[in-house]
């Protein structure tokens, strides 16, 4: 445990140094990576550990984002409280949905959450206090003055996002290696068998959904911070799809893998822009290449390494050691 804390502190320190060395665009992307890391952790927890597929993690992120924005804008609370409220609102919402989800898992859950992701704008538009299509502002404010003029807004976002991501990952990794994590894996493997061992499988599923939603909500608030805004468009179907892709690529049951997934998600647009430039700068290429790359990666990885490239590598390594 102490070793783990030391590693996380080390990672944090490394990130701090990196934040000073790279240009602003990379800092901004770093903040995005931190956001994706949290969001992917929520999927890994839900799908990889408890075996439920939600396509609506984007929607859960929205719940968190709106929760944070409403808290910050209406109550004028400190930022940390807004982030906390993001977790709370999303968890509550997740518990509700999870109650339904425990009854109807599998494709029903996937379809229902898909519907939620598709319908999010309609819901945001229905209630005036959610700000409709343009959404609500979410302003965590400028970096403290004592950091000096050189300290940009995005570096501030990067600091906050990385800090939150580190804490979230630390807590998640501890939850997963706890009794709950083991129980979830048992349920995923065989919910009937787990049931016979005295596990309330539906209760545990709701719990998994709740925790996962809380994480997603936190990621949603971090996303809102990086774009200073919560708007339905920010949490659309494309985001949910991207997250599923990231999770599959990361290895759907590997928590450290989420970092890799986050990096892939941030750099896919970069790669596709580079490719499009090379192939001739046609509008169509620019618009649809990222989607094409994401889909092809998703399909290939789900067919050939359904449990993620990381998992395959691990298996490979495991076969070798001399006993």
């Amino acid at each position: 445990m102490r070793k783990k804390i030391a590693i996380f502190i080390l990672i944090g320190w490394v990130l701090l140094i990196i934040g000073d060395r790279v240009d602003e665009l990379r800092v901004y992307q770093g903040a995005q990576m931190a956001m994706y890391t949290i969001a992917l952790a929520s999927i890994v927890l839900l799908t990889g550990y408890s075996g439920q597929v939600s396509l609506g993690n984007g929607a859960m992120m929205a719940v968190g984002g709106y929760g944070a924005a409403l808290t910050l804008n209406n109550l004028g609370t400190p930022i940390w409280f807004a982030f906390l409220m993001a977790i709370v609102t999303a968890s509550l919402f997740g518990a509700l949905l999870g109650a339904a989800a425990a009854r109807v898992s599998g494709p029903y859950l996937a379809g229902t959450t898909l519907a939620l992701a598709v319908g999010l704008p309609a819901i945001a538009n229905q209630f005036a206090f959610l700000g409709g299509e343009p959404g609500l502002f979410f302003d965590v404010g400028f970096p403290p003055e004592r950091f000096g003029d050189e300290f940009t807004q995005y570096k501030w976002f990067f600091w906050i996002a990385s800090f939150i991501a580190l804490i979230a990952l630390f807590i998640t990794s501890n939850i997963l290696s706890s009794r709950f994590g083991r129980t979830w894996r048992a349920i995923r493997g065989n919910s009937l068998a787990a049931e016979l061992c005295g596990v309330h499988s539906s209760r545990m599923k709701v719990l998994a959904f709740t925790v996962s939603s809380g994480l997603a909500g936190l990621a949603g608030a971090v996303l809102a911070m990086t774009i200073s805004l919560v708007a339905p468009g920010a949490y659309g179907l494309a985001l949910s799809f991207a997250l599923v892709t990231g999770a599959v690529l990361a290895g759907i049951s590997s928590l450290p893998g989420v970092v890799l997934g986050a990096i892939i998600l941030v750099f896919i647009p970069e790669i596709s822009v580079a490719l499009a430039d090379r192939l001739g700068d046609a509008d169509k290429l620019n618009n649809y290449l990222p989607g094409l790359i994401v889909s092809v990666l998703l399909i290939l990885s789900v067919i050939f390494t359904p449990n993620g490239p990381g998992e395959n590598l691990r298996k490979h390594l495991h076969k070798k050691p001399a006993h």
């Binding site: 590693i7 990379r26 708007a231 659309g236 450290p256 990096i263």
Partner: protein, 431 residues
């Protein structure tokens, strides 16, 4: 134990990968971002795909065509003007992400012609355009909130505000449709509400008021608008929405044989796009609309004629419509602004140049430009036009009657302003 160490190692590996991927070479900054001895880099985000893209997706290419024309004729003081277009699918967070790329990676000198009220509000705030002192020229939105020069010190509008438009339509309704039952369909966001507020202030009372949410427009929803309008007996209907919504409304009305006098807001009244959306031309015939620019088919207009020629050569295969005209005109304004800022181009000088010389720039629109040290307002007026059976646009009453006003409580007046002449061959020579 073995397992635990392995997990730690994976975490460490993840951290190393993360750090490595972030580390990248940072280029040394130039004297002025986006300006070199040979090039001026400009950027725009706009919807190239998605529900809101029809029409708007042409603006970037039209601007680009004009810049290429200028470049082939010597550029701006020898520098070529290049425009980087990015697709924001009309969603705020994509607009932010793409604008970040434009400013942080592509390092553009200025933004030109950004689209969409919600998008620009979000971009301005999140990217910190004012704080970064990035000039944002000639916004393709009429939201009157952007005319606050304190909040938007580096932004300049070009379209008359939606409030101005609504005030002018209100005046027109008073003069020409008094006593009729009025209906309005408007987009329920800053754009529509800006207009609705101005109608209210001008004392226009609508018998049927239908708000719609951006993104929900479709034939099915339009059917309910038509039933409500017909049930309320609206004889004159103002459509204050985007083109796709206008298209759906007109298409369904034609099917339901509901034919009030249409007054189409400037945003959604481009006949070429409407017809591409399947609106029968017969429905457009007689529709009234506020217009700032001459008809894109009016070849007797020197601007239109010149732009059409440029379009044929530099934007081949693209129909010349209001969007192309608007894009070219923003290009023309931009080149004048760049010239006015002088050979030693900086962002500061560009902004100062528009503030001091911008009101004299040549522009295709009939109304005066309102740029000054204290105002970033672009064009300030409209004339009313009528669409004919060919989908063309003619001034109401046979000749252009220009109304000018402001976004506040100022009166609507008939103006005698004469716009500056087109620079020879469409190539500005100002300084």
């Amino acid at each position: 134990m073995i397992r635990k160490t392995r997990i730690k190692r994976t975490w460490l590996a993840a951290a190393v990968i993360a750090s490595g991927s972030l580390l990248a070479t940072a280029l040394p900054a130039n004297a002025e971002t986006g300006v070199s001895a040979r090039e001026i880099k400009l950027g725009i985000t706009l919807p190239l795909t998605g529900a809101a893209s029809p029409g708007y997706n042409k603006i970037g290419n039209a601007m680009n065509a004009y810049f290429k024309y200028v470049n082939d004729n010597g550029g701006v003081y020898g520098r070529k003007v290049t425009l980087i277009q990015k697709n924001d699918e009309f969603s705020p967070q994509l607009a932010i992400a793409k604008t970040n790329e434009l400013i942080l990676r592509d390092k553009v000198f200025a933004l030109v012609g950004p689209l969409g009220t919600a998008n620009f509000t979000a971009v301005h705030k999140s990217v910190g355009l004012a704080k970064r002192r990035v000039p944002s020229l000639f916004l393709n939105t009429g939201f009157s909130g952007f005319s606050n020069k304190k909040s938007y010190p580096t932004s300049f509008m070009v379209l008359p505000s939606y409030a101005m438009e609504a005030k002018i339509i209100a005046q027109f309704l008073k003069e020409n449709h008094a006593g009729k039952k009025l209906g309005i369909v408007y987009q329920n966001d800053e754009f529509g509400i800006d207009g609705l507020g101005a109608f209210k202030a001008a004392g226009t009372k609508f018998d049927v008021t239908i708000p719609y949410t951006s993104g929900t427009q479709s034939a099915a929803t339009a059917q309910t608008w038509v039933s409500q309008l017909a049930a309320g007996g609206a004889e004159v209907v103002v459509m204050f929405g985007v083109t796709s919504a206008t298209g759906a409304l007109l298409g369904v009305s034609a099917a339901a044989k509901y034919a009030p006098q249409w007054i189409l807001g400037s945003v959604g009244s481009d006949p070429v796009t409407l017809r591409a959306l399947g609106v029968p031309v017969a429905v457009l015939n007689g529709a009234q609309t506020p217009a700032g620019n001459p008809s894109p088919n009016d070849t007797s207009d020197e601007y239109v004629k010149q732009f059409q020629e440029i379009n044929t050569e530099y934007n081949p295969g693209v129909a010349f419509d209001d969007y192309v005209l608007q894009g070219m005109n923003i290009g023309l304004l931009t080149v004048q602004a760049l010239r006015a800022a002088g050979k030693n181009l900086t962002r500061k000088r560009l902004i100062r140049a528009i503030e001091t010389k911008g009101s004299k720039f040549a522009s295709v629109a009939y109304s005066p430009l309102g740029f000054s040290r204290t105002s970033n307002v672009g064009h300030t007026g409209y004339y009313m036009a009528v669409m004919d059976a060919n989908g063309d646009r003619k001034p109401f009453g046979g000749k252009v009657t220009l109304y000018t006003t402001d976004s506040g409580s100022g009166p609507v007046v008939v103006s005698t302003f004469k716009r500056p002449a087109m620079p020879a061959k469409g190539l500005p020579s100002n300084s």
